[in-house]
């Protein structure tokens, strides 16, 4: 158990240090989602009332696309110099590596959301009419849902041809219920009609189910070579 934790922390610290020095993923994600925001605002041109109805969808689609940018880079880094092969033959538990990668991506995507959310609020003239604090659990659970499956499928698509395009092809169909929950919960909170509780519970269920499945099956995927 302690080895699991120490390996997780070491990998996480390494990934964050690498990201801190290069800032590749965060810069590309930020710029990408900024572009999405601007392009959406040209293609819809909504007033305040309409934007409340569609903003949930816009925000989450932008974050979903931006997250794919980061997720694609997660494992590619480990392929250089056969780091992943070294990990595979070492006695370190596979789930430690997976947990570290998920936490690293979770941190990155949450940071992106924290930076981009105010911009969305300004550009789309948004103000939550419902209980705004509920946006926090929705964002945390939603980000976890995207990141845990995204990291898993990124590891799966490592072995495919044209892996950059394979990740969204695998991730999007499985993420449909999660995306729907995030979008609906956000819409309900922003427009203040009804309660978002069902969607938050559904997101939580999604997270629990798929986190368990990922942890149970990651070893199989890592050893597949």
């Amino acid at each position: 158990m302690s080895s699991l934790r120490s390996i997780t922390l070491a990998t996480l610290a390494k990934d964050i240090r690498l990201e801190w020095r290069s800032k590749d993923a965060i810069n590309s994600m930020l710029f990408f989602s900024l572009l999405v925001v601007v392009i959406f605002s040209f293609s819809f041109d909504p007033n305040a009332e309409e934007s409340r109805q569609i903003a949930g969808g816009l925000i989450w689609v932008a974050f979903l696309f931006a997250a794919v940018v980061a997720l694609n880079q997660t494992w590619a880094r480990e392929l250089r110099n056969q780091v992943l092969d070294a990990y595979r033959v070492s006695p370190a538990p596979a789930n430690a590596l997976f947990t570290a990668k998920v936490l690293g991506n979770f941190f990155l995507v949450s940071l992106l959301e924290a930076l981009m959310a105010p911009l969305f609020m300004i550009f789309y003239n948004l103000r939550a009419l419902g209980p705004a604090w509920q946006l926090i659990p929705v964002a945390l659970l939603g980000t976890w849902a995207l990141v845990v499956n995204g990291t898993f499928f990124a590891a799966m698509s490592l072995r495919t041809r044209s892996r950059e395009i394979m990740l969204p092809l695998l991730l999007f169909p499985i993420s449909i219920p999660a995306v729907q929950s995030m979008v609906e919960a956000t819409r309900i909170i922003l427009s203040g009609d009804g309660a978002a509780r069902f969607w938050i519970v559904l997101l939580l269920t999604y997270d629990v189910v798929f986190t368990t499945a990922c942890l149970a099956l990651f070893e199989t995927v890592l050893q597949a070579e």
Binding site: N149, M156, S157, R159, T160, R161, S162, M166, L169, L170, F172, P173, I174, I176, P177, A178, Q180, S181, E184, G194, F198, W199, L202, T205, Y206, V209, F210, A213, L217, T220, V221, A224, E225
Partner: protein, 245 residues
């Protein structure tokens, strides 16, 4: 085994013809929808067959992950492929029926959306198999099949809740079905199941032969290099070799 296949093929052909006759001429006409309702005898059996095949795919994937049995993997590929074909039939016949009856081609109704998402998941499954060329493809595909199976109930719940929050479009149906219609439906289902089984069988043989050829070719090129005996046509010699299990 070689004899059974043509016999079964002929029987299935006869059964399909009989089911067609029953569906088009014998089944009573629906009072409000008219003849367009007859598409129901193709739509529903295709849906049941597709769901059955996806279920077979899940079972075969789990067996493959536990036992590493190559036959289970071949069954998984075949059931996913044939399942996608039948699911496509469902998704095409549905709107053809819906246009005259509901007045719209498509609605984001519970069953329609769940079927569409299921279709998307299995298409991504087939894409993964197509794009991945390592020997570990079966393992990755089996893992994806399990993820897909976990996803379906969540999709169902999310849409169920979403749609109960919104006004429903006019959906005809519910209620009871005429026993003569049920009879025709069951005959069609039997015919479609036989047809799906036949297709899967043929596809399974093809898959298996393809793998044997690939393995024999790989072996040939290895031996050919080792013995310095270049072979121009590796396929010629595979006929005498028994395929590896």
């Amino acid at each position: 085994m070689k004899r059974v296949f043509p016999i079964l093929a002929v029987l299935t052909g006869l059964l399909l013809a009989y089911a067609f006759y029953e569906a088009i001429w014998v089944a009573p006409m629906e009072r409000t929808m008219g003849d367009v309702q007859r598409i129901f005898y193709y739509h529903v059996p295709s849906a049941w067959t597709a769901f059955l095949l996806f279920f077979v795919n899940l079972i075969a994937s789990v067996i493959y992950l536990i036992r590493k049995n190559a036959k289970a993997d071949a069954v998984a590929v075949v059931s996913a492929e044939v399942g996608v074909v039948f699911c496509t039939v469902v998704l095409v016949t549905g709107p053809i029926w819906a246009r005259p009856v509901w007045g719209i081609w498509w609605t984001w109704d519970l069953r329609l959306t769940t079927t569409l998402v299921l279709w998307l998941i299995y298409v991504s499954y087939l894409m993964l198999r197509r794009f991945s060329d390592s020997s570990q493809t079966p393992k990755l595909a089996a893992v994806l099949a399990i993820f897909g199976a976990l996803d379906v109930p969540l999709v169902y719940f999310s849409i169920w809740f979403f749609r109960t929050q919104h006004p429903q479009p006019v959906i005809g149906g519910g209620g009871s079905i005429d026993p003569r219609m049920l009879h025709v439906l069951l005959i069609n289902w039997l015919a479609f199941s036989c047809f799906a089984f036949l297709l899967s069988w043929a596809r399974y043989r093809l898959e298996w032969l393809q793998r044997e050829v690939e393995e024999a070719q790989a072996l040939e090129s290895l031996l050919g290099d080792g013995l310095a005996a270049p072979t121009r046509a590796p396929l010629d010699k595979t006929s005498s070799r028994t395929g590896p299990q």
